[in-house]
Assembly symmetry: C2
Amino acid sequence: MIKTAEKEALAVAPISAHWRSLAEERCKTLGERLTAARLGAYAELLAGKRALSAYDLIDKLEKRQDRKIAPLTVYRHLDFLTRVGLVHRIESTQSYLPCDHPQHPHESQYLLCTECGSVEEVHSKKLESTLDRIVDAHNFSPARAIIEVTGVCQDCQ
Amino acid sequence: MIKTAEKEALAVAPISAHWRSLAEERCKTLGERLTAARLGAYAELLAGKRALSAYDLIDKLEKRQDRKIAPLTVYRHLDFLTRVGLVHRIESTQSYLPCDHPQHPHESQYLLCTECGSVEEVHSKKLESTLDRIVDAHNFSPARAIIEVTGVCQDCQ
DNA sequence: AAGATAAACGTTACACAGTAACAATATGGA
DNA sequence: TCCATATTGTTACTGTGTAACGTTTATCTT
């Protein structure tokens, strides 16, 4: 499946079999290609443990692969990863975070700690239904809902 | 109160007495200064009727005042206007919108139409309380909640 | 009213975020 | 294998936002 990796042995951040197979499966069902470069970007995001900006990701990939990488390259990978649901974009910090449960695509809500930079992904059916009712009441046809709460997390208080 | 305006007759977008007095009152209670430049930026946002990007605002102000304006100047005005609650920042489009009800500061939710660019500001106590409960359940201490729904508005369907 | 103090403003230069256009390469299917 | 398509690379660019520093303006005190 990943020919390029075999040929060039592109340096990739450590990635557990769990996330790797999840990513492969998700791409297979969508008929999308999980190339070495895309997997590399995904692995780097997973290794980061926090949300990374696009340029943070570029830095990490450049060090890992010891070569220059153009912004556009990384943005294309990020577009892909968000399109297939493996990665979410955090709007309020313009950064990117691997999704908790890529198995079933979903809307998410985020708790963003301004102290340690950690991001907690939460899922509330109640919140979603409440938002649905509001949207309905305004005859608005929703495409995407962004819910992000900034503050201080449990550990930093 | 606005000395500079009297001296230089800085060109300012039309602004109704209603919004003007609201802005003056709000600044007075906060002990902040509503200068001509700040009022000018606010008036321009009000005249725009849609959310404006910082650089859109720069263009409009430059045309109105027939001179160059540095980005930093406008960003400082925007910082001020958001700080006193006269203007909100829309995170998902990186743009700025005059607030509906600056009288009583509040969290807002937004419905953003991708067709016509209109922004509807809504307020739901129910949504806020639901979000509060979620945040409490995670022992998270919230500072600001961003709720933005992108989609297609009633008129554009 | 004059001077001290702090806030606001202006200027230059820069860092970060994201995209357009086009060429080169790799991939999957007939 | 050859072709159509998708992906990647390169260069250059626009848009968003800030740092540092000096000047002007307003407010407060005397």
